[in-house]
Every structure is written in structure tokens, then in C-alpha cells.
């Protein structure tokens, strides 16, 4: 058997249980799963609203069409003119929610990608090299995980100063150890699996095994985690913004900040808390549903 | 005791087990199986994995899940049909009158509960024994199944025992209430070869001592040869041949039985004679209504094998489900 034949053999489906084939089957299952379809619909709605915001929003995010209607005791609720009512400055709540989707999506996606990239690099270093590299990386990961995520995000955002970039970086950093640990664990278990031992015994080079076999087969749980991370990143961004650590410009609508600013009007204008809150739930729920169902579709252990 | 001493203790008639699956076809795992065992007798249920022998035993014990499984037929024990018994009555019988030893001693013991508790809970449940009395009885029991230093072992956890010891502990639990029927499902498969013989010897002795009926489920004809009085060979959910041990070994009539025997190494075979595995795999089956399920792998296949299911017929002291059986000694031209 020549080396290329060995590689061809190790790439066949029988030898690699976690490969692309499994992902295709999972994808087929997912397309027939009503819960996942609901999730996809929610995500699609969220993404479309974010992209098309200027086209579908009835007003601009800073317009104050109802400025004259606001008094210290009354903030008009939903009406035919303003479906989600007005906010405390006479701005159209629906338009603010629609524009807020942009911030949410942007922060969620960027934070997830940055966190995943950082985590994958660390995890790959630990998983591929082992020994002291592994020890050092995992110690760093342990320390990072010893601080509750939100607290760490607060600390980082405080250092970086008030901006949307700080929020993204802060949330990215708290996701780094999660991805690092996940990928390392996957790579370790893959390294011990039969097809890798087979490839190694046939003299395939270490780097080639890692890049062409171990890494691709470790990706399924990473994809699941990335989907779930989008949900938590959106919620964490909203939490930071709720605590006053969001973007620098308070006139840019952010769902978390919108919720925080309604605290004084909860009794008189509950719609100001309801709509931004629901918006966060819808966005987060979409990614949660798809992520969970994807996990079940990919992992035979969850399938019953 | 409603039965006379000579009647069968356990009488299984037309047992049929069907697994139903939502969005899939039903699977008939056991199809019209019948057998009887009397006290002190050992019956072997033999077949490859997937032949339905384990499902048969679980159905007799009432251990199949209630959902998505349908069990039909009759399991008479002591005059009662166990399949129609209320669940709590069945619980009273399980562990007291009928007990079971499972295949894998590694996974069949609760890892976080001491051995002692797992033994004494049987006494507590069925014999109103508690505390010191139950502990003493458990220690005696462990001693009887050949576990040394039982006092210490009772306090230990399963992972602290060797595989053979664990299987002995499982046997002890099964024998705690001196059951009248003991079902052993591949009790030696997961053990080292040297331990296997000891465990079989133990089962044999215990059955002789207590006069229990033993149902031995195995794929290993060696086990059958050393232990069983009668043998039922199962294939694809049905009994294909049943006979006394001596008759079966001397003269297998069903080609499947013949194949099983030929695939076992024998001391009386000429040196260097190759073992003959049965061609094909247990997944190459015909569904019974279309003919003999073994036909796709059968060396003796004739046209009559397919088309209609072969009937189970009594031929000279044995029952056989085959339209073209292997020849008897008289029929073989010398």
C-alpha cells in the first residue's frame, strides 16, 4: 500500500466516524426537525431585520416623531401609528428595536468569531503539541474559567473604555477558554481513536494527521458551540449594555440599554421593557434552538 | 404448588415478542417459541446473537419495556400465566421464585452501591429480613458462591472486585431466595476462559443443591454440552430444532445445528482438520413467512425451502423445523 492509498483509506467513511458524512446526515435530520426549523425561522427574521433595518423601520433611530406626546406621567403605548409605542424621549420604539437588531447581530457575530478563533488557536496548540505547551495553555484556561464570565466581561470592558468594540472584545475573551478546552478535548480523544493510530502506524506525518484528520473531525462540537455562543453573546452584550457598559453613543439603540433606561417607567410604560426584552429572547432563542438540535443531530448519545 | 412434581415448572407456549417503532416496520424478535422446564432440569437456549434467545428470557421474566413492545402467548409458572399477572404480583415472583444472571458483570452491578447492600436488598424485599440477619445471610451466600472473605467484600464496591468475583456476586443475588427457576443469559461470555469453567461448575452445583430449574442461554455449544439436559436451537426468533443433549450432539438434523457443531473445535477431530464456519452472517435472513430464514446460508437448501415457512414437526423424540434435514446415521451410506 502506498502512502496515498493509506490516506485515501483513512479518509473513507468506515474509518472516520465523526467526519463529513456524519455532518451530512445531521443536516438531513435537522431539516426535518420542527424545533430546528422554528429556530432557523427566528434567526432568519433576526438577520433580515438587522440587514434591512433602514428599509423597514418607519422612522430613524434618533427621530422623535412623538416628542410632543411625552409628559412626565404618560408615555403612549402601542397604537396604529406607533406599533410598539413611543419611548421616554418620544422616539418610535419599533424603529429603535429594528435598528437595535443591527448592534446585537454585529456584536454577537464578531464576538463569537473572535472568541472561537482565539480558542481554536489555543486549543489546537494544546491538543497538537501536548506536553508543556498543553500544561501552560490549560493553566491559562483554568484561570480564565475561574472568573464567572459576566464578571470577566465587565472587568475587560471597564479597562477598554466605553465602546462597542470593548463589548465585542470582552465577550470574545470570555469565550476563548470555552472553545480552547472543547477543541483540546476533542483532539485528544481523536488522537487516541483507531483511524489516527492506523494512520500513524502507517507512517503518516504528525502534522498531516492533525491537519487532515484530527482537526476536521473535531469540528462538529465546535460548530454546535459556536451556534450556542451566538445566543449567549447576544445576551451577554445586552447585559453589559444594561449595566451601562455598551456603546459610547447613547442615542444608538441597543436592546440592553433600552431595557435599563425603562427602569423608572416600568409601572407606567411596561411596553418599553417588553419589546426590547422580547427582541433579545427571539434572537437568543433562535440560535439556542438550532444549536441544541444540531448537537442532538450530531451526537448519537442524545438521539433517542 | 398446584403442579405435580412431575409436570413442568415453567411452561412457555407460543411466546411472540414484537418491537414496534414509530415510523418504522415492526420487528418480530421472538416468534412462537415454546418450551418446558422441570425442577432440577437444565435447558439450553442456543443461537447466534440476534436469534431472539435473550429477548425470550427477558419476556419470561417480564423485564421488557412496556412501551413499544408487545408480548403474546403464555408463560405458565406454578399454574399462573405470568404474562397476564398484575405488575406487583410479577414483582413478588421476580427475585424470589424466578431469578436471572446477566451477561456482563461489569455493567450489571450498581457502581455506587456496596455489594452488601445489593445482596441484602433481595432479602429485605422478599423475606422481610433486615439489619444484622440480612447481613449474615448475605455473608453466607457470598461464601457459598465461592467469594473469599465475604465480610470484607460486602462493604466493597463493584469496581474493587474482579470480573469473576462480580459474576459470583451476581449469582449470589440471583440465588438469595432459592428461586425455583434460574435464567442465566450468557453468564460466562464476558469472563476469562479460566474463570468460565469455574462459574459453570458453580451454577451446576447450585442447581443440583437447590433443585432449581436452570435455563442456560448461550451461543456456546461447549457450555451446552457440559450442562444442559435438553437443548433448543433458535434462529431468527424461532426454535428450529430441539432435542435431548445426547441426541442433538450425536445427530444434529437441522443444517443450522449441524453448522454450529461443525464450527466448534473438537478433541476427536483429526489434527489439522479445519473448522467450518457457517457461511454468511446472521443478517442474511429470509423473513419466516417467505420460507426458512436460514435458507440464504443453508448448504442443504432445496426449492421447497422457500415459498412457505417450514412447519415445526416432531420426528423421533425431537422437534425439527426443516424440510430437508441432515441425514440420520442409518440414512448415511456407509
Amino acid at each position: 500500500m502506498s502512502l496515498s492509498q493509506v490516506e485515501a483509506a483513512t479518509e473513507s467513511d468506515q474509518l472516520e466516524p465523526g467526519g463529513a458524512n456524519l455532518r451530512r446526515a445531521a443536516w438531513r435530520r435537522l431539516r426535518r426537525d420542527p424545533v430546528a426549523l422554528v429556530g432557523f425561522a427566528l434567526i432568519a427574521m433576526f438577520v433580515l431585520v438587522a440587514i434591512l433595518a433602514p428599509l423597514i423601520a418607519p422612522y430613524g433611530p434618533r427621530d422623535q416623531p412623538g416628542a410632543g406626546l411625552i409628559t412626565p406621567t404618560t408615555i403612549p403605548g402601542p397604537s396604529a401609528e406607533h406599533w410598539f409605542g413611543l419611548d421616554e424621549q418620544g422616539r418610535d420604539e419599533l424603529s429603535r428595536i429594528i435598528y437595535g437588531a443591527r448592534q446585537s447581530l454585529l456584536v454577537g457575530v464578531v464576538a463569537m468569531l473572535l472568541g472561537m478563533a482565539g480558542g481554536l488557536v489555543l486549543g489546537m496548540l494544546a491538543g497538537a503539541f501536548g506536553r508543556w505547551v498543553d500544561t501552560v495553555v490549560m493553566r491559562i484556561v483554568d484561570v480564565m474559567l475561574s472568573i464567572p464570565g459576566l464578571l470577566m466581561a465587565i472587568a475587560i470592558a471597564a479597562v477598554l473604555g466605553q465602546s462597542l468594540t470593548s463589548v465585542m472584545i470582552a465577550i470574545a475573551v470570555i469565550n476563548v477558554p470555552i472553545f480552547a478546552r472543547l477543541l483540546r478535548g476533542q483532539m485528544l480523544s481523536q488522537r487516541e481513536s483507531d483511524y489516527v493510530l492506523a494512520a500513524r502506524s502507517l507512517g503518516v506525518r504528525h502534522r498531516s494527521i492533525v491537519l487532515s484528520h484530527v482537526l476536521p473531525n473535531s469540528m462538529s462540537p465546535v460548530i454546535v458551540q459556536a451556534t450556542l455562543t451566538l445566543a449567549t453573546a447576544i445576551i451577554e452584550a445586552a447585559a453589559l449594555s444594561f449595566l451601562g457598559l455598551g456603546g459610547a453613543d447613547p442615542s444608538v439603540p441597543e436592546w440592553g440599554r433600552m431595557l435599563a433606561s425603562t427602569q423608572l417607567y416600568l409601572a407606567s410604560a411596561p411596553h418599553l421593557a417588553l419589546f426590547p426584552g422580547l427582541a433579545i429572547v427571539i434572537a437568543a432563542l433562535g440560535f439556542t434552538l438550532v444549536g441544541e438540535r444540531l448537537r442532538e443531530a450530531l451526537d448519537p448519545k442524545y438521539r433517542r | 404448588m398446584t403442579n405435580s412434581a412431575t409436570g413442568p415448572l415453567l411452561d412457555v407456549r407460543d411466546l411472540t415478542v414484537t418491537f414496534t417503532r414509530r415510523g418504522g416496520p415492526d420487528t418480530r424478535a421472538v416468534d412462537g417459541v415454546s418450551f418446558q422446564v422441570s425442577p432440577g432440569q437444565t435447558l439450553g437456549l442456543v443461537g447466534e446473537s440476534g436469534s431472539g434467545k435473550s429477548v425470550t428470557s427477558l419476556a419470561v421474566m417480564g423485564l421488557l419495556p412496556r412501551r413499544s413492545v408487545s408480548v403474546e402467548g403464555h408463560v405458565y409458572f406454578d399454574g399462573d400465566d405470568l404474562l397476564t399477572l398484575p405488575r406487583d404480583r410479577m414483582r413478588d415472583i421476580r427475585g424470589r421464585d424466578m431469578a436471572m444472571v446477566f451477561q456482563d458483570p461489569m455493567t450489571s452491578l450498581n457502581p455506587v452501591v456496596p455489594i452488601g447492600v445489593q445482596v441484602t436488598e433481595v432479602f429485605e424485599r422478599h423475606q422481610d429480613m433486615t439489619g444484622e440477619a440480612a447481613r449474615k445471610a448475605a455473608a453466607e451466600l457470598l461464601d457459598r458462591v465461592g467469594i473469599p472473605d465475604p465480610g470484607r467484600r460486602l462493604k466493597e464496591y463493584p469496581h474493587q472486585l474482579s470480573g469473576g468475583m462480580r459474576q459470583r456476586a451476581l449469582i449470589a443475588m440471583a440465588l438469595a431466595c432459592r428461586p425455583r427457576v434460574l435464567i442465566a443469559d450468557e453468564p460466562t461470555t464476558a469472563l476469562d476462559v479460566t474463570i468460565q469453567a469455574q462459574i459453570l461448575e458453580l451454577l451446576k452445583d447450585l442447581v443440583q443443591d437447590t433443585g432449581a430449574a436452570l435455563i442456560m442461554i448461550t451461543h456456546d455449544l461447549g457450555v451446552v454440552a457440559g450442562l444442559c439436559d435438553t437443548v433448543h436451537v433458535m434462529y431468527a426468533g424461532r426454535v428450529v430444532e430441539s432435542a435431548g443433549r445426547r441426541e442433538l450432539f450425536a445427530e444434529p438434523r437441522h443444517p443450522y445445528t449441524g453448522g454450529l457443531l461443525a464450527s466448534v473445535p473438537r478433541l476427536d477431530a483429526p489434527r489439522g482438520a479445519p473448522l467450518q464456519p457457517i457461511p454468511g452472517s446472521p443478517t442474511d435472513v429470509l423473513s419466516w413467512p417467505d420460507g426458512c430464514a436460514f435458507a440464504p446460508r443453508c448448504p442443504n437448501r432445496i426449492d421447497a425451502c422457500t415459498g412457505a415457512p417450514p412447519p415445526l414437526e416432531a420426528i423421533g423424540g425431537r422437534t425439527l423445523r426443516c424440510v430437508n434435514p441432515l441425514p440420520t446415521a442409518e440414512e448415511v451410506p456407509a
Binding site: 472568573i147 465587565i154 445566543a231 433579545i280 437568543a284 | -
Partner: protein, 334 residues
């Protein structure tokens, strides 16, 4: 067992050390440098000079770090710029409230989550199961502060069943020897004060419990589903044990092992969840103080609280590991 605890404790050292390094550099990275960060932007030059001298900010970093470490070990984190009182004192003042809230939330999550997860698994695929699965997915997707708003609006503002904010009615004449208001009422014989404190706890505890509850339900359900298919549960059934015994001794004792780990992890996270919950309910605890410290740029407070909360989180996880060793005999021996 002792060895196990000691080894876990030894692992704790590097983590806490790493944590202190992180925090040390964090303060130095804050806008305006550590002196401004710790004293606030309006600090006088004299006080800045005093802090620089106190922290040895003119000395090399390793001297600074060792000073920082010495002070941290003595729980000296300087003064809060909001209240001008030592951070440690503020911690001691606000901690009991959060402790009370966290315990209430955790009790709620465990007391509801474990039975619900168990029942969901037992009714697998039926409406109760679907409901709990949906609920647990929703539970992690709802931001804690939004849930807090909903609860506050519906049950406090609209229905008036519970107070909208605070820990106790300020008009109530109550002594607080421990700072745990529910306990204080009992200790001082003022049950009315206790009851009032409980009523103030209900809504924030529900809000804070939502995520741990969702996760505990999910893990318990998955774990029970795994365990009921284990061989040892079948063994227990074969012994004829009562369903009660099987559930308690054989199913739950194994199924709860992973749940313990999760409960511990979630317990540690309650403190960061409290930052959001306490803000909504104006509940005067650690979380609210931290939230205020964030908006007031009170870095001395943040630094001290992060270190203490993280240390607490690590200690809770250690406690969980150790208790895991107590319940699982396999860990104990290793």
C-alpha cells in the same frame, strides 16, 4: 480521600496566583493608571501621591506585585470611591444579602429542577417532557434582567402579591445581628420581619434561579435517561425490587452524579447573575454594589469584588469536586 482533597487544594494555588496576576495587570491597564483608577478622576494630587507611595508605584513591577499580593492576602483592597469606606467593609455589609438570595435561588433551582428533570425523563416524549425541554431552552434564552422585569411587573406592580424592591419594608422595626434577614427575624423572635424578608426574596430568587433551574432540569433529564437503560437497573428489576427502591437506590444515586457538578458550577455563577437581578429589584447586595461601582468607575471595589467572587467560585468548585468524591466510590479510590 484525604490525598484527593489535598491534591485538589494544591491545584487551587496556581489558579489563585494566576488570578492575582491578571487582576494586578488589570488595575494597571485601567484608564488613567492605577492611582487614578483607585481614587477616581477627581482625586487631589496629594492623595494620588499618597496612593502611589502606598502601592509603591515608582518601584519595579515585581515589588509592586508582591505588595499587591500581601495586601490582597490580608483582604485589603483600599477604599471605595463611592462611599469612602474600606472595600472589605462594604463587602461585609453587602455579602449577607447576596448570600441569602443565592441560597434561596439555588434551593429553588434544585428543589424544582431535579424532580422536574426526573419526571420529564420518566415521561419521555410526552407532554410533561416536551414542556420541560421547551421551558429549559427558553430559560437559557431569556436574559435574567428581562425575566426580573417581567416578574416585577406582573407579580409586584400589577398583582401586588410581592413587594417591588428592597430586602425588607424600611418601616419594619427589625434588628439584624447576622445580616441574613430571614435568619435575623427568627433569631430575634420577630417572625413578621422574617416573613417580610422572605416575601422580598421570592421574585429576585425566581429570576436568579431561572438559568440554573433550566440547566439542572436538562442535565437531570439526560442523566436519568442514560441511567434507566443501564444494565444494573435491569438487574434491580430482575430482583423484583419495588419501583421506589429502584428509583432511589439505583437510578437517582447514579443519575445525580453529573447533576452535582452542574449545581456546583451554577452556584458559583449565581454571584454574577446577582449583579443583574439585584439591580432590577434594588436589592441591597454585592451585585447591586458592583453594578453601582461600574457606573461610578469605582475600580477599587471592582478589583476587590472580582478577586473575592472568583476565589469563592473556585472554592465552591473545589467543594463540589470533594463532595463528588464522597458520593462516587470510584473517584474516592483513585
Amino acid at each position: 480521600m484525604l490525598k484527593f482533597v489535598v491534591r485538589r487544594l494544591l491545584l487551587l494555588g496556581p489558579i489563585l496566583l494566576g488570578l492575582s496576576v491578571l487582576l494586578f495587570f488589570w488595575v494597571r491597564a485601567l484608564p488613567g493608571g492605577p492611582a487614578v483608577a483607585l481614587l477616581g478622576e477627581r482625586a487631589t494630587p496629594e492623595s494620588l501621591a499618597r496612593v502611589e507611595q502606598l502601592y509603591g508605584l515608582d518601584q519595579p513591577w515585581y515589588v509592586q506585585y508582591s505588595k499587591f499580593l500581601t495586601r490582597a492576602v490580608q483582604l485589603d483592597f483600599g477604599n471605595s470611591t463611592q462611599t469612602n469606606r474600606p472595600v472589605t467593609e462594604e463587602m461585609a455589609r453587602t455579602f449577607p444579602a447576596t448570600f441569602e438570595l443565592a441560597v434561596a435561588a439555588l434551593l429553588l433551582a434544585v428543589a424544582v429542577g431535579i424532580p422536574l428533570g426526573y419526571l420529564a425523563a420518566r415521561h419521555y416524549g410526552r407532554w410533561l417532557d416536551n414542556l420541560s425541554v421547551t421551558g429549559s431552552l427558553l430559560g437559557v434564552a431569556i436574559p435574567v434582567f428581562f425575566l426580573a422585569y417581567i416578574l416585577k411587573y406582573v407579580f409586584a406592580v400589577r398583582l401586588g402579591w410581592f413587594p417591588t424592591q428592597g430586602r425588607q419594608d424600611p418601616r419594619m422595626d427589625a434588628d439584624h445581628p447576622t445580616g441574613l434577614y430571614v435568619l435575623d427575624g427568627i433569631l430575634t423572635g420577630n417572625l413578621e420581619a422574617s416573613w417580610d424578608a422572605v416575601m422580598h426574596l421570592v421574585l429576585p430568587a425566581f429570576a436568579l434561579a431561572s438559568i440554573p433551574l433550566a440547566i439542572i432540569v436538562r442535565i437531570t433529564r439526560a442523566s436519568v435517561l442514560d441511567v434507566v437503560h443501564e444494565d444494573y437497573v435491569r438487574t434491580a428489576e430482575a430482583k423484583g425490587l419495588w419501583e421506589r427502591t429502584i428509583t432511589r437506590r439505583h437510578v437517582l444515586r447514579n443519575a445525580l452524579l453529573p447533576v452535582v457538578t452542574v449545581v456546583g458550577l451554577q452556584a458559583g455563577l449565581l454571584f454574577s447573575g446577582a449583579i443583574l437581578t439585584e439591580t432590577v429589584f434594588a436589592f441591597d447586595g454585592v451585585g447591586r454594589f458592583v453594578a453601582e461601582a461600574i457606573s461610578n468607575r469605582d475600580y477599587a471595589v471592582l478589583q476587590g469584588f472580582i478577586l473575592v467572587i472568583a476565589a469563592l467560585y473556585v472554592l465552591i468548585n473545589l467543594a463540589v469536586d470533594v463532595s463528588y468524591g464522597l458520593i462516587d466510590p470510584r473517584v474516592r479510590v483513585k
